[in-house]
């Protein structure tokens, strides 16, 4: 298979050029007559394929929400070529057999490179460390208990120590559950609408603990979806001291605040919860100064029955693949907060480096993973056109820049916009 993308504007170059792809790799120039397909990009912007280090594909066990096939198609529509699903499936992805099953389904779907994250403890119940070595052989790139953070510091220490034997990063969703029995951020809005609150302290306390353990043990730790200014400040200070801590945030934490919950719209319910404006500003500051290493989606499909219900009963989480780049571009690059290069660091090289995936190369011989975005024209995001099986997005009807035109993974077109 030989593919030519003509009139491509690489995100970090001003001039237009042609991109040649042969046998799944970026190749040297060849004649147009030899190509199986030639696509004229007409000056649209090309980036390396995006990497999402934190998502949920729901398979096995939650196929009524999403499957590996539909989830990876949704990711491809967002410009992603590599994604890392969390282990909170049913059964839990805490053993090599489940991981192998995920890898097999991902291969069949062939929409994305799927790098699973294994459970840090058996059954993600925070007590016994999982078979990390065997899972690594089956394909995992990190361990995490995701939404069930390891509350016992002694177990967290053992997880970090054991995972480091296998060079597996530990990703922790930081939340002290003893402080967070609520359904949204604790503050004026939660008080006004009578919803129990989740204080920022619940997140900050566990971030502090993990930084202390990382510093003491000299073992890396990665903080998932940071949403608080306290978290950003502690991670910034820790990095300055040389602690091996990295972190991610998600588009909703730099585009939405807890005011959105006022109407009890469950598409604004997520964990960690949407915070107040001062926290949103701190997240953007952390993105700008390099404290935050990655933008992940925390893509969390849920069936309508789990979202069209009472606010406190609704499940946490929103879809993210199909809006992440456009939100990043519209709210960070177009607003002048960061450069396009920095956005690509956050959405490709940053997560790839933390998980040692080696993605994002665009030189001759590298895997041909790329995405093409329309940065010039505004588009209206329409949830009915999503490729996910679910529809739980708060961004329906938003006017954004950065619609995906084409996604190529290993030389194969995995998404193209028909227009």
């Amino acid at each position: 298979m030989k593919l030519i993308l003509k009139n491509a504007k690489k995100y970090n170059e001003d001039k237009l050029s042609n991109i040649y792809i042969e046998d799944g790799k970026f190749a040297v120039e060849f004649a147009e007559a030899e190509a199986d397909r030639v696509i004229d990009l007409k000056g649209a912007t090309v980036t390396p394929g995006l990497v999402d280090m934190h998502c949920h594909l729901r398979e096995p066990g939650g196929e009524y929400k999403e499957t590996i096939k539909t989830g990876t198609a949704s990711a491809a529509k967002g410009g992603y070529t590599s994604i890392c699903p969390m282990p909170n499936t049913n059964p839990v992805a805490d053993n090599a057999a489940v991981i192998s099953g995920i890898m097999k389904k991902a291969k069949e779907a062939d929409n994305c490179r799927v790098y699973p994250i294994g459970a840090a403890t058996k059954g993600i119940d925070g007590e016994l460390i999982s078979e990390m070595g065997l899972m690594k052989e089956a394909g995992i790139v990190a361990v995490s208990d995701d939404g069930h953070p390891i509350k016992n510091a002694g177990i967290m220490r053992k997880v970090m120590e054991y995972a480091s034997d296998f060079d597996l990063p530990v990703l922790n969703h930081c939340e002290d559950k003893s402080l967070s029995e609520g359904a949204m951020n604790e503050g004026t809005v939660s008080t006004t609408i009578g919803i129990r609150g989740i204080p920022t302290a619940a997140e900050d306390i566990m971030i502090a603990r993990d930084i202390i353990l990382s510093e003491y043990l000299n073992i890396p730790v990665h903080i998932c979806h940071v949403s608080t200014k306290g978290g950003v400040r502690m991670i910034r200070d820790a990095k300055a001291r040389g602690v091996k801590v990295t972190c991610e945030t998600c588009p909703h934490y730099f585009t939405l605040t807890d005011d959105c919950c006022e109407t009890y719209d469950t598409n604004f319910k997520m964990h960690p919860p949407l915070r107040t404006r001062d926290h949103l500003e701190a997240i953007i500051e952390g993105i700008k100064d390099g404290t935050i290493d990655a933008i992940a989606t925390d893509n969390a499909p849920h069936h309508a029955d789990e979202k069209v219900c009472e606010f406190s009963v609704a499940l946490n989480g929103i879809l993210g693949f199909e809006t992440a780049f456009a939100l990043g571009y519209t709210y960070l690059v177009k607003t002048g907060e960061i450069s396009m290069e920095r956005l690509i660091d956050l959405m490709c090289y940053g997560p790839s480096n933390i998980l040692k995936l080696g993605r994002g190369g665009m030189n001759i011989g590298d895997d041909a993973d790329l995405a093409v975005f329309d940065l010039e024209n505004e588009f209206t995001f329409d949830k009915e056109k999503m490729l996910s099986k679910s529809r739980n997005t708060p961004y329906d009807g938003w006017k954004l820049y950065g619609d995906t035109l084409l996604t190529v993974m290993g030389g194969k077109v995995t998404y193209e916009k028909l227009c």
Binding site: G187, T188, G194, Y264, E310, S312
Partner: protein
């Protein structure tokens, strides 16, 4: 005449004018309750269903009597003995009631926002009879009616509310409604039962029961749910009664003609000593009558709106 919205979801959704219209109408309705022949035709040919997911004595009964005094067909469903126990979703249950030609669904639910969630899906008017920790608008309206019978205006009046502020939908509805009419609301309770950011709802957080009640025109006690003790929100009933109750000494700090209210049910000897509950300043029993009057007014004004459509 009538309310602007199809539903009565909370004091947040009412304007000052609508609140005053409800209170004025309720004063008239109160005459019906005290008359020998308690029958009007305001709701003749209408159907009213109460759907209660939480226990209730006075709210439910006052809604049922209010609708019956005005001649409606009324029925009630409670969570035991209905399809709710078969796992039917709230929305399905509400739609089922709606499809039986129901004009008004009065709902109490343990989840904040539950009536807001179902209302847009239904033809029937939804009246919030208490949703989680959010609002209890008809309680606030009956409290305000009780005040309105004694005040010429709400402007500048000082209202003190003491007790479990965090879990109280009564406080939230009163704070919102009273503020819209220009009253000053002070609140006090153990810090474990004070919600973060309550001052941003326009109320003053007092330093003590005494500070809260001092110079008040009206004082409101709140029920302390005794099971909160199990969650370590207060150490013992004895300690609560000693430091947080509205005692005669505390009540004496209010203005001389101030009166005492309580939404009930009351834990005698916990938030109020029995002597205070029964004292001359107490209007707690009159609040109950006003509850029927205000609910008659609300049901009538919701139907008045529908009749104009």
């Amino acid at each position: 005449m009538g309310l602007k919205s199809k539903d009565l979801l909370g004091m947040k959704q009412l304007t000052a004018d609508e609140i005053m219209e409800i209170l004025d109408t309720a004063k008239t309705m109160k005459l019906v309750i005290s008359s020998a022949n308690k029958k009007t035709s305001h709701l003749q040919g209408k159907s009213v269903v109460t759907l209660f997911y939480e226990n209730s004595t006075r709210t439910r009964l006052s809604f049922e009597l209010a609708s019956k005094y005005m001649g409606s067909a009324s029925a009630n469903i409670s969570t035991s003995g209905s399809s709710v126990n078969k796992g039917e979703s709230l929305l399905d249950t509400a739609r089922t009631i709606d499809m039986m030609g129901t004009d008004i669904i009065i709902m109490r639910h343990n989840q904040s926002g539950a009536p807001h969630f179902i209302a847009p899906y239904l033809k029937a008017s939804v009246v919030n009879a208490g949703d989680g920790m959010n609002e209890h608008p008809t309680q606030a309206l009956l409290d305000m009616l009780t005040m309105y019978e004694r005040f010429d205006t709400f402007e500048g009046k000082n209202i003190a509310i003491c007790g479990d502020i965090y879990h109280s939908r009564v406080v939230r509805s009163n704070a919102i409604g009273l503020k819209k009419l220009g009253a000053n609301v002070s609140v006090y309770g153990p810090k474990t039962m004070m919600p973060i950011g309550i001052e941003n709802m326009g109320v003053r957080i007092a330093d003590s029961v005494a500070d809260c009640i001092k110079d008040a025109d009206a004082v409101m006690g709140l029920r302390v749910q005794l099971e909160r003790q199990q969650k370590s929100l207060f150490p013992s009933i004895a300690e609560y009664a000693k430091f947080y109750a509205i005692t005669p000494e505390m009540l004496a700090l209010a203005k001389p003609d101030a009166f005492l209210m309580h939404p009930g049910p009351c834990n005698h000897g916990v938030e109020l000593p029995t002597a205070v509950y029964d004292c001359d300043q107490s209007v707690i029993n009159e609040q109950v009558t006003n509850g029927v009057a205000v609910r008659m007014a609300v049901l009538y004004l919701l139907m008045a709106r529908r009749n104009q459509l």
